[in-house]
């Protein structure tokens, strides 16, 4: 690289940096927006099903029915919202979304129980979201199993059979990587994948299209600066800004969201730097096709947010996406960076296991930058 071209790159970069620092709106976009998104999604996006609003119609009103319900609403999974008076009212509450679960205990619940007959209870579950409905059903079923077990034990105790083992096979589960199965431990780091895809891409696209929108692009077009010098000089300041974002988001994740970080920080940062380079490249490609800042922004949001949310493995594992989804996921760099994030936050694996992911993200970056370079013309139509 000649000294002249180095100087030109430096001139473009320092000009860009000055413009950014003098434009409060742009700084807001650069730093405030990603942090705000991180907070909103970090607090708001949770896949844990807890605190299910529950209504109860207890037509038995005996100690036994009380006991059954008290045990249920004592757990963190259910919250007693209403005590109903009739079936009709419960249906109404479900319809309006006030409750997700209704439990109906028929009259003579206790009586049947003590006559050693099966004593049915009915639950109505809001099945609007199948996943949530299924989880609620499993919670209720698990609770009833343990309640039945307790009833059996009491019955046996009363007959003096205390030594009988009612659970000859015992299940001992250990969840690796996220022992307490807190969904935020998986989601919060995953948000890095989304935000670090969207933000650098938008900023890079805006940086180039801004010059087209204002007309300063003619200054560049009509000067001897080469295409790669201009594009490189243009995006360098944004690498810096986005690296700051990486650090801020990382600190927020471990301090504010208390996500345990177990792996190597160096490996996470290396992966993030490469990922920023790649997603910036996406912005460059978008800037080649768009002429106004609004268009650039909308196009970039669409092409970054969908793959990073749906095809990165953020909400569900890529292998559960179905065949078409899985292929698509492999076509976007988000999935590979997600593996780096998971590998460093919770799995504690090293370059040996994740090396391919780094290389794939880097290859994407190089390819996108080259594509951006080819598509950028120093002249109009």
């Amino acid at each position: 690289m000649s000294k002249e071209s180095l100087n030109r790159i430096r001139a473009v970069s320092s000009k860009e940096l000055k413009e950014i620092l003098r434009s409060p709106l742009f700084l807001l976009l650069a730093h405030f927006v990603p942090i705000a998104l991180f907070l909103v999604f970090g607090f708001g996006l949770s896949l844990d099903v807890e605190n299910i609003p529950t209504a109860l119609l207890d037509m038995d009103r005996t100690q036994a029915s009380r006991e059954l319900i008290n045990g249920l609403v004592k757990t963190k999974y259910f919250r007693l919202q209403e005590e109903g008076t009739d079936n009709h009212q419960l249906i109404n509450l479900l319809k309006r979304g006030k409750i997700r679960l209704a439990i109906i205990i028929p009259p003579q619940f206790r009586k049947r129980l003590y006559q050693d007959r099966a004593s049915p209870i009915q639950v109505l579950i809001d099945g609007t979201y199948p996943y949530r409905g299924l989880v609620i059903k499993n919670y209720v079923a698990a609770y009833l199993t343990s309640f039945n077990l307790k009833l059996t034990r009491d019955w046996l105790n009363r007959r003096g059979m205390t030594s009988l083992n009612l659970q000859p096979i015992e299940l001992e589960t250990r969840f690796l990587y996220n022992p307490s199965l807190v969904s935020s431990y998986a989601l919060v780091p995953g948000l890095l994948v989304v935000i670090l895809m969207m933000n650098p891409a938008i900023m890079a696209a805006l940086a180039i299209v801004k010059e087209k929108d204002y007309g300063t692009i003619y200054t560049i077009y009509s000067s001897p600066i080469t295409r790669w010098e201009f594009l490189l000089g243009k995006v360098i300041p944004y690498y810096g800004l986005n690296f700051i974002n990486v650090l801020v988001l990382f600190l927020l994740s471990i301090i504010l969201f208390q996500v345990p970080f177990k792996g190597s920080l160096a490996l996470l940062l290396l992966g993030s730097v490469i990922y920023i380079f790649t997603t910036t490249g996406m912005g460059l490609v978008v800037s080649a096709f768009t002429r106004s800042m609004v268009a650039a922004q909308i196009v970039t949001i669409i092409i970054t947010i969908i793959p990073s949310f749906l095809y990165s493995g953020l909400l569900m594992p890529v292998s559960n996406l179905g065949r078409a989804g899985e292929i698509e996921a492999h076509l976007f760099p988000a999935m590979y960076y997600m593996k780096i994030v998971q590998g460093t936050y919770s799995k504690v694996i090293g370059l040996k296991e994740m090396g391919t992911n780094y290389l794939v993200v880097l290859a994407y970056g190089v390819a996108l930058f080259c594509l951006g370079l080819v598509l950028f013309k120093k002249r109009e139509g």
């Binding site: 002249e4 100087n7 001139a11 000009k15 300063t216 000067s223």
Partner: protein, 570 residues
């Protein structure tokens, strides 16, 4: 024979289906100022962009500074500079004057020591030196254009391409702009420029007249004008022949005359407007009589737009009283708005709506319906020459027609007073003429009152009275003739000289302390205190031939510059 800087043959360029350039050929010699003139939409900007290597083309041979396009375009770029059309468009608004110059120099690898030396000269010549650290967004339009030129010149390019560099620039700044340009041409630079000012075109060594994508004349501007003729008139004649306009100069039948109304149309008393610590308008007072066309003139940043916005109620004045059609601040703003019309510098039309949708929008805003609306709409369509084209999108109609449509829309509700802020900026002479014909008719026949700002000082002659503003203050008020007489009383009559070589003569005469400036081919000299004999002798000694053609008309531009120079405080 001189070497050719630019050689173009059979150049064609189309945007989608519209052919913008239809096979033109032209040559520009090295060291000359080549002017490209013609009406709006003639294809001038496309030609300029192609020559600057920033626009592709479909057909033809383009050779610039010895290199064939499109392959050679990148190789030429270190030797050329290009200023696109539009004020400050090539500058970075958030960088300071100095930072912009430095950026341009870096792009062309000019070493810092050379750059600083050149920058000092350029900034001093343009009067920008005191503003070196100011951000471009805080400069007036005239200053931005001068800075744009400085940035283009920092690399001492062999070829400079300027697309309407002086549109929207005040006359004082224009003169400084041209002085600097001439200095560099003397040093061997070639200039290709387009302009809507015909006096600038007359100053070019050669011009090409473009219309509808073809060149109909190319050569010495005198070849087009003939003796005693001005390019502005020739421009009209050619256009009337080539592009006959069918617009109808008529009045709407129901438009009431304002003659019966008593009292002045506008009274401004002691108007001041502060922006933070900056006083944009400073104790402005004047009265506009009913039926007057009142011109508000001043350099960029003089406070004209601020004053107008205060009058129409878009800005709250800091001090002072404004009375329009007998209504003042105590009247509800919505009532006043029924009596005034406003056409802003930027387009007041929606580009993505059709012609008739735009009119309907205006009409609805003012509560017009039914027969009233139909009649007025038909009238606007006639003066804008748009009958039968109501369904066209506004962005697809030519600039000049757009301006007449905007004027028509601001007249739909039959206001008593119209405020027009630079309605003719960037518009070609033919359109400007028609525009003024409409205004004059409305003022004379129906006593509508107009307040107009403009940088085309030729247009100031159409005004009944003029107010000259500078740095927020009123510096002169009177009819064009009164102001002219005041200047003549101070500076003497204006003499027209023909001298060769012109630049040499200019320098010598200036060095004698006389006030002289070039206009087209000739020189203009203020005669008060001038000894013609001494001057002739001095010129003869230096080998400069001079001929005194006699007294020349003092133009409104001369008047303007006189009052600005007298009343500028740094």
């Amino acid at each position: 024979m001189a070497t050719l800087a630019v050689e173009v043959t059979g150049l064609k360029k189309a945007y989608r289906k519209a052919e913008a350039v239809k096979g033109i050929s032209l040559t520009v010699e090295e060291g000359e100022i080549f002017g490209l003139i013609g009406p709006d939409g003639a294809g001038k900007s496309s030609v300029m962009k192609i020559l600057a290597g920033v626009l592709s083309y479909d057909q033809g041979k383009v050779k610039v500074l010895g290199r064939e396009y499109p392959k050679g375009a990148e190789g030429v770029k270190k030797d050329l500079a290009f200023m696109p059309q539009g004020i400050g468009l090539n500058l970075y608004m958030d960088l300071s004057v100095r930072e912009n110059i430095e950026f341009f120099a870096h792009l062309r690898s000019i070493p810092p020591s050379t750059r600083d030396k050149r920058a000092r000269r350029l900034l001093e010549a343009t009067g920008l030196a005191p503003f070196e650290e100011r951000l471009v967004r805080h400069l007036s339009g005239g200053m931005q254009q001068k800075l744009g030129l400085c940035c283009a010149l920092i690399s001492h390019p062999r070829l400079l391409i300027l697309d309407e560099p002086t549109t929207g620039v005040d006359p004082l700044s224009r003169r400084e702009f041209w002085d600097l340009l001439f200095d560099f041409v003397e040093e061997g630079m070639t200039v290709i420029m387009s302009t809507s000012y015909m006096d600038e075109a007359e100053r070019c060594h050669r011009i090409a007249f473009m219309i509808d994508g073809t060149i109909i004349f190319q050569g010495d501007p005198q070849g087009l004008t003939g003796p005693g003729d001005h390019l502005e008139q020739v421009f009209f004649r050619i256009l009337e022949r080539e592009r006959p306009q069918t617009f109808h100069l008529i009045l709407p039948a129901t438009l009431p005359s304002q003659r019966g109304n008593k009292g002045p149309a506008v009274v401004v008393e002691n108007l001041s407007k502060w922006f933070d610590s900056f006083k944009a308008v400073d104790s402005l007072s004047f009265t506009i009589e009913k039926g007057e066309i009142f011109g508000l003139l001043g350099p960029n940043g003089a406070g004209k737009t601020t004053a107008i916005k205060s009058m129409v109620g878009l800005l709250e004045p800091t001090e002072g009283e404004i009375t329009i059609a007998g209504l003042n601040r105590k009247t509800r703003l919505s009532t006043i708005k029924h009596h005034i019309g406003y056409m802003s510098q930027k387009f007041s039309l929606y580009r993505d709506l059709t012609v008739s949708e735009n009119m309907e929008l205006y009409a609805t805003l003012y509560g017009l319906t039914g027969g009233e609306l139909r009649e007025r709409r038909a009238w606007v369509l006639k003066i804008a020459d748009l009958a039968g084209q109501e369904k066209m999108l506004v962005r697809d109609i030519p600039l000049g027609v757009k301006q007449r449509l905007a004027l028509g829309c601001s007249l739909l509700h039959f206001p008593q007073v119209l405020f027009l802020d630079e309605p003719t900026s960037g518009v070609d002479p033919q359109v400007r003429k028609h525009f003024w014909e409409i205004i004059t008719l409305l003022s004379q026949e129906r006593d509508l009152t107009f307040l107009v700002t403009t940088h085309h000082l030729v247009e100031a002659e159409y005004c009944c009275r003029l107010a000259l503003m500078n740095q927020g203050r009123l510096v002169a008020l009177g009819s064009p003739q009164e102001l002219r007489e005041r200047v003549i009383a101070e500076k003497g009559e204006m003499l027209e000289l023909l001298a060769s070589p012109q630049r040499e003569a200019l320098k010598i005469i200036k060095s004698m302390g006389y006030q002289v400036y070039p206009l087209g081919r000739s020189l203009r000299l203020w005669s008060k205190g001038v000894s013609l004999d001494r001057m002739k002798e001095r010129l003869a000694r230096r080998g400069v031939a001079v001929e005194i053609k006699g007294e020349a008309q003092v133009s409104m531009e001369d008047v303007f510059i006189h009052f600005m120079e007298q009343n500028t405080h740094v």
